[in-house]
Amino acid sequence: MSEMLYQRDVYGKTLVELGKTNQSIVVLDADLSSSTRTGLFAKEFPDRFFNFGVAEQNMIASAAGLAACGKTVFLSTFAIFASGRAWDQVRNSVCYSNLNVKIVATHAGITVGPDGASHQAIEDIALMRVIPNMSVIVPCDGPQTQEAIIAAAAAKGPFYIRLGRVKTATVEGKGEFKIGKGQLLSEGNDLTIVACGIMVNEAQSAVKNLQKEGIKARLINIHSIRPFDKEIILKAAKETRGILVCEEHSVIGGLASCVDEVVAEAHPVRVIRMGIKNKFGQSGEPADLLKEYGLTSVDIEKAAKALLQ
């Protein structure tokens, strides 16, 4: 069994490490610093942390002002509020001016669980990736969260980094983390499975089971939604019989749409979209919700076989 980590624990610890050497880092939160783990930074560097209370619009526009004065701003709240509540501030104050504001949104997707649909961001990737200048990263596990945070701190411009609430198993064999590059997790020429976030683990289990039945699936982890690795997708479109996309997000506007956009323009192949199908989430335990919405490794296996028929 691989290591189980909270992505937000890794995030909080990484911020503290970065804060020790990078004096320009400032961290903001909107009354969720214990949940998002920015509280770890607050404890270590109280002069570079500001809690904005329950006021996400003010927090994000203020981040623009801090960044315009040379600060690298990391700000956190739940994904639903970071992407939706303050979208105009993200677009007009942060992205339009191409400022160094890194939005690290936790509690994304339906695995927020019992809090229910009001708190389950399933549209955030779509909302963030359409804004010019914005980079969108969806790390698949704890170690990749650390890589994403370090990369975002070093890069210029705005980022949206999407983290989950639940613990994730560390995905083996990912290789080098590079913004804009997908990661080939397993070779295969029957079909391609493209996944992001917590769905990478589900997909990896599915790939192992398919292998036992003689089906060789290529597995690609797309942590970098934008910039997007077109080459790895086009190669897969040309070399395999179809693409299955798995994401804990609406099937509209997220990873599946990224794949669709690339293949439709350059090499049309069949794409099956596994995600939340144009409906809201609901309360429930994360594992039960993944079953309810058809996002388990078993569902992926079934869909893979259907694609090959």
Binding site: V26, A63, A64, G65, A68, C69, D88, Q89, N92, Y96
Partner: protein, 272 residues
Amino acid sequence: MASETQIQELEAKAKEIRRSIIQMIAKAGSGHPGGSLSSADLITALFYSVLKHDPKNPNWPDRDRFHMSKGHCAPLWYAILADRGYFPKDKLMTLRKVGSILQGHPDPRTPGVEVASGSLGQGLSVGLGMSLAARIDKKDWRVYVLLGDGEIQEGNIWEAAMAAAHFKADNLCAILDYNGFQIDGKVCNVMELEPLAAKWSAFGWHTIEINGHNMKEILGAYDEAKKIKGKPVIIIAHTVKGKGVSFMENVCDFHGKAPTQEEAERALKELA
């Protein structure tokens, strides 16, 4: 205390800036003359007698910051930036044209503009962020933010108002251009703001009310603002929409309508 000569020079400069505003907007064929004219005295006084800045070195780290939250009054800002030497004056006639450094609403591609604005209600937060940056760096530069009266109907403004007082942002000075008109009519009819000074006081701000066309009062307010410790300051400036051009004054239509060529000529005569 400002001398009579200084006051007269500022008044003459404000008139010159108003002429630029009329010329730019008439040439562009669209834009917002009303609010640019009503804030002209406030912002002229700021840029020619209060703000620490260096047009030859716009990124001087210790400069005071100015942010125009009511972004539709960009022509006022551009006229002043060009006159102060941030970019050549002939660029003013490219306002709102494809490829111009002068966008319809402020954009950091314009030398002297730091953060984009135009979507109302966000600029006080931007200014608050700047003021916190000064605090972190233990710098004494100040932040000035121009707000519109219609603009402060946005909820984001009041989030920022609450936070600026909470953070004791005494290096932050908001300037409210209270001209009493917004697109759909009189502010008091569209969405009443009064009792306005009481609202800001209740939020923890130091308030100063002035006639926003009286240079002496304007300079006095900026002086007073600098001396206030422990809380942010708002200068509530009572102004006249379209100030300086008789047929634009208190005419709601000129909030967002360019003068015709003939109207521009008449306006320029009045501002001669």
